[in-house]
């Protein structure tokens, strides 16, 4: 080792890689280089084994059976909730609502929190760098209530214009909904400051943590946000499961989002009594295996340590950024001072889709497109970007292969 490793010890990336079976496969006869982690992350065998154990050993419905299997499934499901409470430092397990993903979490808040509270003249603030899933639910809410959407602009580096944000905030601001880390640019937003400023005018804050949860330690108590949303599948867990955190007092005051079984205490045709938190928001049989699997994913990354993961990834991103800016004709899209996990770029004369196909031939998986953030593409006047996104199992050697693949594409096109 020539450089001092973070935290005094080398990050044993090869040991972690061995936990991810898919990383051993080949694509087009080349070792897979998976750099599409912002779309979805790969799963460690510990998560797969947890899913397998559930289906093989104690598959059962929860919260209703008196039999052993149901008790085991219920215990595992609720244990996962507590793991997630600890993972994000929520005050109570009742503040952890299981949903299908970040998208459903945001829609839940827009409808359950917003629909009865907002009206004409009220304002919702989002930013120019949001994913469509943190834009469209608010547009729907605006159509329903007469509220209006305000947009914080970003600068050329891909950082929020905080002065513009302060100017947008006012007595009419009811909700501020901001991504913690941008999926298209990698910018890490100053969410603590954003939240404090919003609270000063009496607005509630939802943070879209889809890209943040896999890369940084989360502390909703320190952030003081009112809602925090993230997806399991980007956090090395199953697809189809996600988390909405909400402050208990707010969740208590909100009506259910979906009606059905498990979210009630008593049903008659005259009056239905809703269940307590968190069950009020978990109508129907949930994705039990997914919840338990997400708990296993949280155990997995917690054992490594989110701070260790962040330090390793920050170093990897610095290495990748230095290599990328050395490629003639390559322009980075998103050069914020504070970034995480994402290298978005365009190449002179080579469309991102062509680059994506050429890299795929060398086993390298990246994303090419608008990344569900069309306003960001509009801002930079590009139709699409190529995006390499990293996880803690990626290596410098993989970055080198990416750069070699880009050079190959340039050879084909020039």
């Amino acid at each position: 080792m020539t450089a001092a490793a973070p935290h005094g010890a080398a990050f044993p990336v090869e040991r972690y890689r061995a936990d991810f079976p898919v990383l051993a496969r080949r694509v087009h006869d080349q070792p897979l280089v998976y750099l599409d982690n912002a779309a979805t992350a790969q799963k460690p065998r510990q998560v797969m084994e947890t899913l397998d154990d559930y289906y093989r050993d104690y598959n059962s419905n929860i919260h209703r059976g008196v039999h052993t299997l149901s008790e085991q499934a219920t215990a595992a499901y609720e244990a996962a909730r507590k793991k997630i409470q600890t993972f994000i430092n929520a005050a109570s397990h009742q503040e952890i609502i299981f949903v299908r993903g970040t998208t459903e979490a945001i829609n839940l808040v827009a409808q359950s929190y917003g629909r009865n509270r907002l009206g004409a003249g009220d304002e919702i603030i989002v930013s120019e760098m949001e994913h469509h899933s943190n834009i469209v639910p608010w547009q729907l809410l605006c159509e329903q209530t007469g509220a209006t959407l305000q947009v914080i602009p970003i600068n050329d580096a891909g950082e929020l214009d905080m002065d513009a944000y302060k100017n947008l905030l006012g007595d009419n601001t009811r909700i501020v909904a901001i991504g913690h880390i941008s999926n298209a640019l990698g910018s890490v937003n100053p969410v603590t400051e954003i939240t404090a400023l919003a609270h000063a005018v009496g607005a509630v804050v939802l943070l879209d943590g889809a890209q943040a949860a896999p890369h940084t330690s989360l502390d909703v108590a320190a952030l003081d946000c009112d809602f925090y949303a993230f997806s399991g599948h980007k956090l090395f867990g199953p697809t189809g499961i996600g988390v909405l955190y909400g402050k208990q007092a707010l969740l208590e005051a909100m009506p259910p989002y979906h009606g059905g079984g498990d979210m009630i205490k008593m049903v008659t045709f005259k009056k239905t009594l809703y269940n307590d938190l968190p069950y009020k928001f978990e109508a129907g049989t949930p994705y039990i295996a997914g919840v338990i699997g997400l708990g296993a994913a949280v155990d997995y990354v917690s054992a490594i340590g989110m701070d260790q993961i962040q330090a390793y990834e920050d170093e990897l991103l610095r290495y990748a950024t230095t290599a990328a800016v050395g490629v003639p004709g390559l322009t980075l899209i998103g050069t914020a001072a504070h970034k995480a996990g994402i290298l978005s770029f365009v190449l002179d004369g080579i469309h991102p889709h062509d680059l994506g196909t050429i890299l795929d031939h060398d086993g390298i998986a990246i994303r090419a497109g608008h990344h569900c953030a069309m306003p960001v593409m509009e801002r930079y006047r590009v139709p699409a970007t190529a995006r390499a996104s990293f996880a803690f199992y990626n290596t410098r050697e993989e970055v080198d292969k990416l750069i070699a693949g880009i050079d190959k594409a340039k050879d084909i096109f020039n």
């Binding site: 889709h353 062509d354 196909t357 050429i358 497109g369 699409a384 084909i412 096109f413």
Partner: protein, 150 residues
């Protein structure tokens, strides 16, 4: 195992770099926009007709990947001077070539378009190659709505 250079043949790279018939026709008898919302490819096709039945001039502009730009460029070269039924027949043959892997690779029937045959090995890229053709078809059929691949 196929080589990526089978897809990005010199002809495709050339037509991407120097697309033929690129630019707006003004005036144009018919104009229509086509777009692929998944990747942001967007092109506008311009046609001048010799009567109702024959394409006398064709042009396009817009932006997209090499496959979509080269395909549009090759298409304009191919259909200029063709009758409407002839152009539609070429499209049908071309479309089958790209989407039906069991179809015989009768490359002679599509002439120079055969350089795009490699696209059939890349299902996610077929829409790139056919966007211009779907737009042409809609234009010839008189539709006024922009064409979307989705």
């Amino acid at each position: 195992m196929f080589d990526v250079k089978d897809l990005y043949q010199e002809v495709i790279v050339d037509h991407n770099r120097n697309p033929r018939n690129f630019g707006k026709l003004d005036p144009a008898d018919k104009t229509l926009e086509g777009f692929n919302p998944l990747c942001g490819d967007r092109l506008t096709l311009y046609l001048n007709m010799d009567g109702e039945e024959r394409i006398s001039e064709v042009g396009f502009d817009g932006h997209g990947c090499a496959i979509s730009i080269a395909s549009a460029s090759l298409m304009t070269e191919n259909v200029k001077g063709k009758s409407v039924p002839e152009a539609e027949a070429i499209f049908n043959t071309f479309h089958t070539l790209l989407t039906d892997s069991s179809a015989a690779l009768d490359l002679e029937r599509v002439g120079k378009l055969a350089v795009l045959a490699g696209v059939r090995d890349y299902p996610s890229r077929v829409k790139c190659a056919t966007l211009c053709w779907h737009t042409l078809k809609a234009l010839l059929e008189g539709g006024g709505e922009p064409v979307s691949t989705e």
